[in-house]
Each structure stands twice: as structure tokens, then as C-alpha cells.
């Protein structure tokens, strides 16, 4: 669905999983938007003006009105373009509560443990983070079974709210897997999620915007070098 020029803009950075969430949501709804890539190390005037509280990406500008925080943007996109594409959140209030619960879990528990693997200074600390990450994925595997109801995604037949929440981290998960020499989305430990991960990355709405692992690795090395 073509948007009028300047109607929809997204301030972001290509490596950010949070920005990726917004992009996938917009793609799912077929919304045309202008991607305003922030310069690394510098925050634009527009960003600072649009997100004065956190000064972070992503920020969605719809008719110049800012929406901040990735999952809030996803929910906004779902509502603002309710007539386009498939629903991102389910219609039933209880199902919605479940999706919201797991999205919060993914950010509060899964992300810190995954990130903890990268940050770990000692082998011990790394091992602990790995255990935590696997434990979180086990819970997410169970959640997938319940929410997907035998279909391809957490959202059922199509990519939904929880898919976006978790899927956005897949690029960085691959980087961490390579750097740490282990498998996070392990076919043996979490078979359903291992398949889901491939499926998510291959999806129409995702594949063009999911950053390539090699590029992320380079970016990560550059960050470490700093």
C-alpha cells in the first residue's frame, strides 16, 4: 500500500534488532516508508527531537508524529494499518495477553542472557549465560507449541507479535553462535524453534531487512575494537 511521500518514516540503524522489528511489521502490512539510517556514533537532530526521553532508535514517524519503543511501534503499525495484510496480534483478548507476555519475556529474560554470552569476561560467566539462554529457549519452545497450534509461526499461519519479538534477534544470535562456538537454536534442544528460525529468516517480510551475519560480525568486531 503506497504511502504518500513522507507519510511514513522510520529512524533506525541497520544492525539494530529493535529497528528490525519495526521494519518487519511495516513490511507485513505492505507499508511504504522512508528509512532514515542514523550515522553510527552520532544522533541526528530529528532523532533527539522525536525521542527526547530515550534518544534511541527505532522511532516511527507517521505524519511526522513519533512512536517510540519497538514493540509499541509493532502494535501501532498493526492498529494503524488494520485493514492491510494479516493481523499481527490476535483478536482474542486472552491470546493477546499471552503474546504480550512472551514478548516481554523475550526482552527481559532471553535478550539479557544472549547478550550476556557476548559480554562474558570469564569462561564461567559465559557458561552461566549459555545455560540461562538455553533455559529461556526451552520455555519459548513450549510457548511456540502452545501458541502456534501446529502451524508455522507463534502467530499461527502468519508472522505474529511474538515471532517479530524473537525473530529480530536471530541475526545477532548467529553472530554469538559463531563467536562463542556453540548453537543457541539447537535442533536437539529446541527442534521446533530451530525450524522456526530458518522459516522466519526466509520470510518475504524479513529476508530483505535481516542483516547478513558477515556484516554483523564485522560490525561486532568494530564495536569490540573501540
Amino acid at each position: 500500500m503506497a504511502a504518500a511521500a513522507g507519510e511514513v518514516r522510520l529512524i533506525g540503524g541497520w544492525p539494530s534488532p529493535f529497528v528490525l522489528r519495526a521494519r518487519v511489521a511495516l513490511n507485513l502490512k505492505g507499508v511504504e516508508y522512508e528509512f532514515l539510517q542514523e550515522k553510527f556514533g552520532e544522533k541526528s537532530e530529528l532523532l533527539l527531537r522525536s525521542n527526547p526521553v530515550y534518544k534511541k532508535v527505532p522511532v516511527l514517524l507517521h505524519h511526522d508524529k513519533p512512536v517510540c519503543e519497538s514493540m509499541i511501534i509493532v502494535e501501532y503499525v498493526d492498529a494503524a494499518w488494520a485493514k492491510s495484510g494479516q493481523a499481527i496480534l490476535p483478536a482474542d483478548p486472552y491470546e493477546r495477553a499471552l503474546h504480550r507476555f512472551w514478548a516481554v519475556y523475550i526482552d527481559d529474560k532471553w535478550f539479557p542472557s544472549m547478550f550476556g554470552i557476548a559480554k562474558a569476561q570469564t569462561e564461567e560467566a559465559k557458561a552461566e549465560s549459555v545455560e540461562q539462554a538455553w533455559a529461556a529457549l526451552k520455555l519459548l519452545e513450549e510457548a511456540f507449541e502452545k501458541l502456534s497450534k501446529g502451524k508455522a509461526f507463534f502467530g499461527g499461519g502468519t508472522i505474529g507479535y511474538v515471532d517479530i519479538a524473537l525473530g529480530a534477534y536471530l541475526g545477532w544470535a548467529k553472530v554469538i553462535e559463531q563467536m562463542a562456538g556453540l548453537k543457541l537454536f539447537d535442533e536437539e534442544k529446541t527442534p521446533l524453534l530451530a525450524v522456526w528460525a530458518e522459516r522466519f529468516c526466509a520470510h518475504e517480510a524479513v529476508k530483505e531487512v535481516m542483516p547478513e551475519t558477515e556484516k554483523l560480525m564485522e560490525f561486532a568486531k568494530m564495536l569490540r575494537g573501540k
Binding site: 508524529k65 502494535e75 504480550r100 507476555f101 516481554v104
Partner: protein
């Protein structure tokens, strides 16, 4: 789930929890009957452990046997399950995004920052005070001259924030921080909220909160 059906509504809660109070306020705003169950957090009930196996925390709202966890998720669930009355979120999707943003900010900042005020001492406490005042001023700025955070209608952000006002007395007693002095524009808003029965019935006596804080300080060995 049929609209208006409220048989089998149970709220697992703990009297002083601002997160539990959010749920009580939302249920009261909707005029929905429910069974309140006080949990002993040192001896959690089998029902709590079964209903929230991931976090094992209150509040949990159990509706016809199905548990909903996380206070702001519960409040939104209550709003969506009883859509025919007292909307807690605005109709406009942009306004809803704003409400969620500010409720999320309260979630991210108030509890942690507030807790530091009575847990820490000396330099660390002074830092915590600065941080807390910043948050109050931010919220004050967002409220502006509006009746409630969402405008004319009491809603999600008010519900997210108002339970923490019962802790203002404790913050003053423990950290010599007067929220009323630091963010005077919030004062009429607090008064307005407390005039709502849903709020006045759900919030604890600030003195009782202070007693609880003192008890916790003893437990943690804080002077």
C-alpha cells in the same frame, strides 16, 4: 469468552504491591466482581506457582481458570475483555501508542528508582534521589495541565503510576525526598485520582506502607 461474563475471576495479589493495585483499580473501574486472594510471598500457593510458573510472581488474574500475568498486560486484558464500559485506553491508535509508552516508562523507572530510595544510603542514595526527581519531573511535564495523563479520561498511565503515590510518604521518611515539592503539578492529579473510588479503595494507607518498608529494612539489615 462471553462479554460481561465474570464468573471465576480470581486475583492473586499482595496487599502492598503497586503492581497488584493496578489490577484492582482496573477491575474496579470496570465494575467487575472478583475474588481477591492474598498471597504469602514467603510461602507461595500452589495455585500461584501453577498460574505463573515462569516468574512465580503476583499479580496474576485468573479468568475462568486461565491465568494472565504481568500487571500492565493484565490491565490491558481487563480493558479488552470488558470493552463495553469505562475504556482504560483511548480509541485512537496513536493515543494508545502514547499511553503504552508512558505506562512502560513508569514500569521501567518508578519501582527500581523508588526502591533505591529506601534501600541505599549516603552517596548512592543521593544519586538515587537525583534519578527519582528526574523521573518525577518527566512525568510532571507529560501530565502538563491535563486532568489525567490521557486527557479527560482516567486510563492506563494513571493506573500504572498512581499506586506509587502511596509510597511518597516512605520516600520522604527514608530519603528526605518530598515528591510533592519536587513535582508540584502532580499533586492535583494525585488528589483527583484518589477521589475515584477505584483508587481510594485499592491503595493502601501510606503509613502502613511505611511500616512495611521499615520491616523490609530490618530484614535487609538496613539502618
Amino acid at each position: 469468552m462471553a462479554e460481561g461474563e465474570n464468573k471465576g475471576l480470581v486475583l492473586l495479589d499482595f496487599w502492598v504491591s503497586p503492581f497488584g493495585q493496578r489490577c484492582r483499580i482496573a477491575l474496579a473501574e470496570k465494575g467487575v466482581e472478583y475474588e481477591y486472594r492474598e498471597e504469602n510471598l514467603r510461602d507461595k500457593s500452589p495455585l500461584l506457582l501453577k498460574s505463573n510458573p515462569v516468574h512465580k510472581k503476583i499479580p496474576v488474574l485468573i479468568h475462568d481458570g486461565k491465568p494472565v500475568c504481568e500487571s500492565l498486560i493484565i490491565v490491558q486484558y481487563i480493558d479488552e475483555a470488558w470493552p463495553d464500559r469505562a475504556p482504560l485506553l483511548p480509541a485512537d491508535s496513536y493515543a494508545r501508542a502514547q499511553a503504552r509508552f508512558w505506562a512502560d516508562l513508569v514500569d521501567k523507572k518508578m519501582y527500581e528508582s523508588g526502591t533505591k530510595l529506601w534501600k541505599l544510603k549516603g552517596e548512592a542514595q543521593e544519586e538515587a534521589k537525583k534519578e527519582f526527581i528526574e523521573i518525577l519531573k518527566l512525568l510532571e511535564g507529560e501530565l502538563g495541565d491535563k486532568k489525567y495523563f490521557g486527557g479527560d479520561t482516567f486510563g492506563l498511565v494513571d493506573i500504572a503510576l498512581v499506586p506509587f503515590t502511596a509510597w511518597f510518604y516512605s520516600y520522604e521518611a527514608c530519603a528526605n525526598l518530598s515528591a510533592e515539592k519536587e513535582a508540584p503539578k502532580l499533586v492535583p492529579w494525585v488528589k483527583r485520582c484518589r477521589e475515584r473510588e477505584s483508587v481510594s479503595k485499592s491503595l493502601p494507607d501510606p503509613l502502613k506502607v511505611y511500616e512495611f518498608v521499615c520491616f523490609l529494612k530490618k530484614v535487609y539489615g538496613i539502618e
